[in-house]
């Protein structure tokens, strides 16, 4: 039950630091301005409001970045983040794609969140997050600037993710000493959803993905689950806005039991017996859609797939954007261990 607005505000304010509350409430307000009731999206205002940051070939805190075209004809860009090795004050343009040198270098293909409609690879919040991942996992991070809804519906985002996976897999400069690219897929919100679907395609095409990291992944279904009813409007998110984003992403006329939204639902694929990557699924205990996320984990378990659930009881959406809470550090440690364990 939604309860009064007054109660809701006080509740969400009590569980996150004030600056986090401000940050996420700011997004919530901005996003409300962008979604139109008729299903269209105020893209111009979205781009105006989004805080962006350019790539930077000058290392900052041991990380440098540059943008590349994955696919020139569709203008599919990705931002590549690499660890700098101490001595270099600047990275030469010729060294941007210099071969990686360590024995094993994890390459994390990252899909930013935004419910399929918001944000970009060069959004500051995601640039910051990707930079952290480089340090934590000693990895190269490839952040994919996938096409967004409602202008580009299913399966565009998945197609772009798939293109990125193929691109990464075929870069010799990303190969570890065993001449293979050690690929992990990671994403938050809609990005988490994309991780699942790209991994599925990878399995079907025999490209090895070493692990999936899903942070508050975006799943749903026609049914109204307990968590949706219980948390509606309480911690920054409403059922109504979730519905809006699915309507914007899914093909017209499709409902939320479409397998893109509900992979273990009535129209979902069977995952038994296939070599699906191991998964780390992070669920925030105050997330509206946690029942769907937990159902996803169950689905993987029942299909005999390896999955670790990290359930953070008092976490809200977006907790991983600011390093000012325990959940943040817990998750970063888990991700580090997850990516490391293959060595």
């Amino acid at each position: 039950m939604a309860g009064s607005n007054e109660v809701n505000r006080n509740e969400s304010k009590m569980v996150v630091p004030l600056n986090t509350w401000v940050l996420i409430s700011n997004f919530k307000l901005a996003y409300n301005l962008l979604r139109r009731p008729d299903g269209t999206f105020n893209r111009h205002l979205a781009e105006f409001l989004d805080r962006k940051v350019p790539a930077n070939a000058t290392p900052v805190d041991g990380v440098f970045s540059f943008d590349v075209f994955i696919n020139r004809s569709t203008s599919l860009l990705s931002r590549i983040y690499r660890p700098a090795h101490g001595e270099e004050p600047q990275i030469n343009i010729t060294d941007l794609e210099k071969p990686v040198t360590a024995e094993v270098v994890p390459v994390i293909i990252f899909f930013h969140g935004g419910s399929f409609a918001h944000s970009s690879a060069n959004s500051t919040i995601y640039d910051t997050l990707c930079r952290r991942l480089v340090g934590i996992c000693k990895a190269v991070v490839v952040s994919v600037n996938y096409r967004r809804a409602p202008e580009n519906r299913y399966p565009c985002a998945y197609d772009d993710g798939w293109a990125a996976l193929n691109w990464v897999n075929s870069r010799t400069w990303l190969q570890s000493k065993d001449s293979k690219v050690h690929i992990y897929l990671a994403g938050d919100s809609s990005g988490g959803n994309i991780v699942h679907h790209v991994a599925l395609q990878a399995v079907e095409s025999n490209i090895e993905v070493l692990g999936n990291i899903l942070l508050n992944p975006m799943f749903g279904g026609e049914e109204r689950t307990e968590s949706e009813k219980r948390f509606d409007g309480k911690y920054f998110v409403t059922i109504r806005d979730r519905d809006w984003y699915w309507r914007a992403f899914l093909p017209e006329g499709e409902d939320r039991d479409h397998p893109a939204c509900n992979p273990f639902g009535p129209k979902g694929k069977i995952l038994e017996g296939i070599k699906f990557p191991k998964s780390l699924v992070v669920v925030a205990g105050l997330d509206l859609i946690q029942d769907w996320q937990l159902a996803y984990v169950k689905g993987l378990e029942k299909a005999g797939q390896k999955v670790k659930l990290l359930y953070l009881e008092k976490a809200t959406i977006g907790f991983y954007l600011l390093p000012n809470n325990n959940h943040f550090y817990t998750v970063m440690d888990e991700i580090s261990a997850f990516v490391d364990s293959n060595c």
């Binding site: 401000v22 307000l29 409001l49 943008d67 343009i93 340090g135 000012n324």
Partner: protein, 593 residues
Amino acid sequence: MNKRNHQDTSGGAGYGGIRKSDFQSKAKIWEEGQDAGGGGGVDELLAVLGYKVKCSEMTDVADKLEQLEMVMGAAPNLLRDTVHYNPSDLSGWLQSMLSELNNSPNTFHDRMLQSHHIDDPLHVPAESSSVTTNSQQQQFETTQSSRIYNDDSEYDLRAIPGSAAYPQTQDRERNQKRLKTSGGSNSAPPLLPSSSPIVGVAAAGTVSEPTRSIVLVDSHETGVQLVHTLMACAEAVQQDNLKLADALVKHVELLAASQAGAMGKVATYFAEALARRIYKIYPQDCLDASYSDILQMHFYETCPYLKFAHFTANQAILEAFATASKVHVIDFGLKQGMQWPALIQALALRPGGPPAFRLTGIGPPQADNTDALQQVGWKLAQLAEAIGVEFQFRGFVATSLADIDPSMVDIRPDEAVAVNSVFELHPMLARPGAIDKVLSSIKSMKPKILTIVEQEANHNGPVFVERFTEALHYYSSLFDSLEGSGLVPSTQDLLMSEVYLGEQICNVVASDGADRVERHETLSQWRVRMGTAGFELVHLGSNAFKQASMLLALFAGGDGYRVEENNGCLMLGWHTRPLIATSAWQLIVSDSP
């Protein structure tokens, strides 16, 4: 005052090696900081993410968010047509929305009458070298157009739809109120360079640590080799190893010849520039003015950078002139006057009728002694007459803007003044003292608005190889955009555009001292300079952003060109690489005598 910039991560925002044990002590510092009000410091964690919020304002900002949420819940359509400014200044952004909601709805005309005011600039005796005057007597009857915020309207690049260019006056008031009440840097006294983090938090890098933004346009094997050889050549030049440099530059030319597309062309121009530097054969005199104008016209036709520059600058000028009955634009580089037909048309469509419009155009001396300025002035006068705008033109010939004596520019009482500079300020950095003199001259003209468009790059660093590298990235993106925008310009337009850019490359790479005039600097650097000189930003808003984006989509068939908002300024870039920046300024209004 918290001087830490967002790259300094001792506040816990470090990227590598975060340990839980570090967290406890840091959390305590944050809590203490917030409890104690944090003084004048900004919240560092939010600053990293592009939002400037003072610690002491955090609670207030949260309150505003709650208020707005209440209103939005009750009446979600209320803010649908709002013009937004500077989203990085969260407090200001929220306050402007609250103010808009608190104002009772008035008609546009009522608002206009309430806010009508007349400027009172310094009266200077008139002295000039060349005068062309045309006065128009007829007034033009305007009809109220209602094309504001209409997503479906077609925009002609050559004309700004008049009323769409005029925000509601209440927005302008809001904007001015915001400049005074917001806690941001805009209402502070002239900024010192060490405060630059607060000025440009969303832009990575301080003045001393350059941000190098690269979009790899060509990962192809030959492309990499080409760049490698170019860099090696630049290194050799810097080390004065001219024999090696010569061998390398020849190798570049060879490779470039077999490299298709933008990369090959860029490499060829850079190689030629390097060769000139090696052999010291840089022409001492600058390019013939009329030839340079022609090149720029082709550039204008081929790609949207100049159109964006003109459009966004005009937008700011129109907003500043919204209620003035007499306006005077001083254009620091008239050239072919391509910026002004659109402004004249927009003024003609102004609700309530156009103001009397004076244009002062400044230009360099012509080799053949023709009065190019007069010719342009005449053409503009004809246009103005045709659409019923009272128009006067005066031309000034000056070799350098620093030679302009402000008293020569006839500023009259009760006219609103705009000073406009599109790519004309950076050459002033070639001579010591010139930029200060120019900024000082501008100040004495008491402009209501100063519009500046500059290249978004640092091509003015002291180290040759760094300059070279920066320029290589920058012009690679520019050339790539010429190739890749989807529209096919005429071969001649494209070629001339490339030559236009090639001239700039040559100047950056091959010349030095007073001859090196293409001393581009980034918006971050200009912010500091302008703040020190006594100017504060006038924000460009979401309306200008949206219209610029729509024009680009029309022009280029979509894709690569991107408009970006940066702390109250607008940038145009190719994909993720900003290439030019428009900013609008006014004199800082000091409250103390």
